[in-house]
Amino acid sequence: MPEPLLEVSDLRIRFGGFTAVDGLSFSVRPGEVLGVVGESGSGKSVSMLGVLGLIRTPGAKISGKVVFRGRDLLALKNAEMRAIRGREIAMIFQDPMTALTPVYTIGWQIAEQVRAHEKVSKRAARDRAIKLLDEVGIPAPEQRVDAYPHEFSGGMRQRAVIAMALSCNPALLIADEPTTALDVTTQAQILDLLRRLRADHGSAVVMITHDMGVVSEIADEVLVMYGGRAVERGSRTEVFHSPRHPYTWGLLDSVPRVSGPRVRRLPTIPGTPGAAGQGCPFADRCTHRLAACAEAPPLSGTAGHLDACWLPEEEKTR
């Protein structure tokens, strides 16, 4: 098993009295795609922003260890962190409509990132931008490189954002719901693109999403988050075919099936997510609740498939 590229252990992020991420641990191996699933407020985006040092809220407290290629990112100075951001770890965000500065051309913005990290001429940076735009499937890149963001459609903008993220050949790409704001056909194209780019560039990808469909398409490993904690972790096959946590069961049940008997109504998980407290964060909404759930269960299991639930072993494999 190769050395992990990114290893996060016991990451905690607190905003005042609110704990957004509570002891999260996971790792990403080179070239691997990790799907991080959870609903809004589960802490999936915040934890990734924390990894990159992008949380700017005054009073936010971040602790734990984030080791990337042998360096603890949380202990780095600002300037050292800047050299990693955008060059070794790139991040793309949910809404491509607002992610680009409206007053500069696409090419300028890509070249800006290249020139922030490498000593190349303007000419060379621009050529690189054209090549990247071509690579992400933007037609006529020699002309489109001088277009402004508002002249691009949503899907095209997300392609441009991806091109920008890949401009320095990052070892790790963090994608925060990159397809959520797009329509369905565009979503599929962007996922195809990400898959192809991973094959070409060999970057590892952390794909944050609330969409089980996206995870099943692209992920090698899956991390299910709830209330700021990891509740289940395993390979895609394991999580999809033998899910062990009641929350994962709920997630998978709420995906509509195109084959098989038709259900009258899509099942939902009752209640709304609450903040992480003392006990298991999911206990309030769980139909399998036990007395033991007043205390938070540890993430445990065998052979790489882990879960955080007090249910007896035989009930987890239904």
């Binding site: 699933v37 609903e39 369905v184 609330h210 089980m212 469909g213 398409e217 709420s254 939902t268 009752p270």
Partner: protein, 342 residues
Amino acid sequence: MTAAVETVAPRAARPSAGPWRQALRRLARNRSAMIAAAGLVLIVLACALAPVYAGSIAHTDPFTSNASGTAVVNGARVPVLAQSTEGLGLGVTPIGPTWNPGSFFLGADNQGRDVMARLLYGGRNSLMIGLSSAALCCVLATLLGVLAGYFGGWIDAVLSRFFDVIWAFPVYLLAICLSVVLLTSGLHVGPIHIDAGSLALPVVIIALIYVPYVARPLRGQVIALRNKEFLHAAVGLGASDLRIMRREVLPNVLPTVVVFLPLMTALNMLTESALSFLSVGVQSPDASWGTIINDGLALLYTRPAITIAAGLCVGLTAVALNVLGDGVRDALDPNARLRGGA
């Protein structure tokens, strides 16, 4: 393949205070806005009591000249207007501040009138003109803005072009044009008759010139509302245009109008003082803070108290109104904008 797992369970409806009450509560927690409101109340009270001050404390009529009057200062009786000792000795120098509330607290102007009493009476006019022109302006602007935004088409085209022209016209120049004409002849349109010297003239003029300032943002809001589902629903139910405008559109733009009111009052009061300073606002013998600053201009180097006091009154009142207005904006409609940041 795409299935969102967001689940939103219906939350139990909790009886909550209406939006106006909530905004009022937010406003009450805003300390600087509350201090400004208290200051305003003091200023308004003081000006409202102007006749009491003039009649019972200073015993003076602030509207007639008092060239041969006398006042008691430090036990000695001195004339209110003394022959000027500077230059050729041709002009007169009025008495300076005595700091005695009973007589010429802030001194006299060059017609021998008590400045303190005039300041209070002038404040009534300044505040009245500021507030009523702001109210008139907001009413007109709401009417025109809602009509333009709601009906669109040629109504909108005509009204918008009209707003554009007034918007591009420097406000003071427009006000000066209107004032020059109306101050000589008064305003006589249909059933409305306003005499040349009336205080209603500056009110109407100032209200008119600022209509686009308020109407333009409101029109934009109404156009945005026009595409909202609840409005389509009202149309679908067969509600009349008048009913939709009154019941659906108006309540939604009203918070913005309320935000504009204190800010417009400050702006209009400043405009009034500027026009009065240029002698095309409030006409003598009526006073306003602007006319008092103008009166004080000739005496700036000998009796600076006149100008300074009147200017401070305008400035402090405007500061209070603007701070209060910002508070109201934060509480009601943080995005409301009056031509830029003001």
